[in-house]
């Protein structure tokens, strides 16, 4: 059953974030939410994890599903090592934690605490934690901040591999990231949140890697629709 938002309403005081918001998402693939900060996209994804409860409306297709999240913030436990930060979400399985840390290029850093790691390394620990948890749905909220392009691509290929038949929801402001990673892009505005436009990117990751003109075309199509407006 695919994930869908049905007539969600949510406001924080005077500020209406969701006003009768409805959207049906595909069963699988990487869905990118592209939009200015503060438009309400993070709030929307928080409704999936029940961290934010809409005042009315319904979210279907998440019953009994495990949801992995890379939050906008790292949210690592400062008093335990990188390895323990990962293993804490998979019943203390340190082997698995080590595997995932190695996959995101953190071999040799497993026993360091978050404070001993750079910003980009902490980000990768948060990504490793989400992937080790192996949710049925993966939510990524600006996950690649502080990662260089090579590392970003390595991480993306691991995510693609693990989530071929599952749904990945991905928030970003970066059109190059979206062009490389997304199967579908929703261009969002708000608040209140609404979908401006939807784009489909059908080329596979290997095709995009092989032919940089595809990436350029995708990126241009996103940017042409999100040109800064003076209003």
């Amino acid at each position: 059953m695919s994930l869908s938002f049905d007539h969600l309403n949510l406001s924080f005081g005077e500020r209406t974030v969701l006003n009768d918001f409805s959207l049906e998402l595909p069963e699988s693939g990487v869905v990118c939410f592209f939009g200015a900060s503060g438009c309400g996209k993070t709030t929307l994804l928080h409704t999936i994890t029940s961290l934010v409860k809409p005042q009315s409306g319904n979210i279907s297709g998440i019953g009994g599903k495990k949801i992995s999240v890379v939050f906008q913030e790292d949210r690592l436990l400062p008093w335990i090592s990188a390895k323990q930060n990962v293993s804490v979400v998979c019943r203390g399985d340190e082997k698995l934690a080590e595997e995932w840390l190695q996959k995101v290029g953190l071999a040799g850093e497993e026993d360091k605490r978050p404070e001993q790691l750079s910003g980009g390394m902490k980000r990768r620990v948060a990504i490793a934690r989400a992937l080790a948890y192996d949710g049925d749905i993966l939510i990524l909220d600006e996950p690649f901040n502080g990662l260089d392009t090579n590392m970003e691509r390595t991480v993306i290929s691991h995510i693609k591999e693990q989530y071929t038949d599952k749904l990945v929801l991905f928030i970003t402001h970066d059109s190059a990231e979206a062009a490389f990673f997304a199967d579908e892009v929703y261009l969002l505005s708000g608040p209140p949140l609404f979908v401006n436009k939807k784009l489909q990117f059908s080329a596979s990751i290997s095709e995009r890697l092989a032919d940089s003109s595809i990436l350029e075309k995708y990126q241009a199509s996103i940017e042409s629709l999100t040109l800064p407006k003076n209003d």
């Binding site: 994890t49 999240v69 949210r75 008093w79 804490v88 979400v89 605490r113």
Partner: protein
């Protein structure tokens, strides 16, 4: 390099303490010489002589051990119940409504009021335990409550999203967050425990107690003994605080606080 500089640092610290001790002993000596009445201000040497006699008696050790035991028991009970109440009032609205105001009132009440009141209900030898308990509990309660409230909401959300479970959330998120608040409360309340415990003993006069000895010395105008007992109380209090700080340093390292 390191060990020798550290030794130098230690040496200068000891020197500093020594200088201040000698200076104030001299001030004390001069005051006692000016006043020239053992009854009012005995000289340091007189007090030292009394202390020496005291230390040689079997009674001294029994009395000291008994008081130490009472105060420590009250401290441990106050700590345990303080933490337990903090958990209760932080997790239950009803408990918070009912219990929190009472703890605040207890904290604001002068210790002597409790001592005099409790004397009516409680046997004199258990009274100091109860008084120490009452003094320590609110300090632990308020600090641990603040620690629980200050626990990072984002980390708690993370724990919820990843279904870490209640026990693990407590052990991995709450306990390390609250630990610095807890340790600070223990350190600041140990001194309070000593002072209130001895005060309770002075007023309640249990059969075996340091406070009782101080009270008796006062009644029989043995001022040097009052001084001697006071010195014992101060030294014990300092030693216990030092032990506690050392012990907690180990815990702190574990939790990185």
């Amino acid at each position: 390099m390191m060990p020798s500089t550290m030794r130098n640092k230690n040496n200068s610290k000891i020197l500093k303490i020594l200088v201040s001790v000698i200076f104030w002993l001299a001030v004390w000596q001069i005051i006692s010489m000016i006043i020239d009445k053992v009854l009012l201000v005995p000289s340091p040497l007189t007090v030292l002589a009394h202390l020496y006699v005291l230390l040689a008696t079997v009674d001294f050790w029994q009395i000291t051990a008994t008081s130490l035991w009472r105060i420590m028991l009250g401290f441990v009970l106050g700590t345990v119940f303080g933490v337990a109440l903090a958990v209760l009032t932080s997790t239950s609205k009803i408990a918070d409504t009912l219990i929190s105001p009472v703890v605040r009132v207890v904290r604001a009440t002068p210790v002597v009021s409790f001592i005099i009141l409790a004397l009516v209900w409680i046997h004199s030898s258990s009274l100091p335990i109860f008084i120490v308990f009452l003094m320590v509990l609110p300090v632990l309660w308020s600090n641990v409550t603040a620690g629980i409230a200050d626990t990072d909401k984002q980390l708690l959300e993370m724990a919820r999203v990843f279904h870490i479970g209640r026990l693990k959330t407590v052990m991995k998120v709450y306990v390390p967050s609250v630990m610095p608040y807890f340790l600070a409360a223990c350190i600041s309340s140990i001194g309070l425990a000593w002072k209130s415990g001895i005060a309770a003993e002075v007023i309640a006069s249990p059969r075996i107690a340091m406070g009782t000895e101080m009270q008796n010395a006062k009644i029989y105008l043995e001022t040097p003994d009052v001084f001697a007992w006071t010195i014992v109380v101060i030294i014990l209090s300092l030693i216990i605080e030092k032990i506690l700080v050392k012990l907690f340093k180990k815990v702190s390292i574990k939790y990185d606080v």
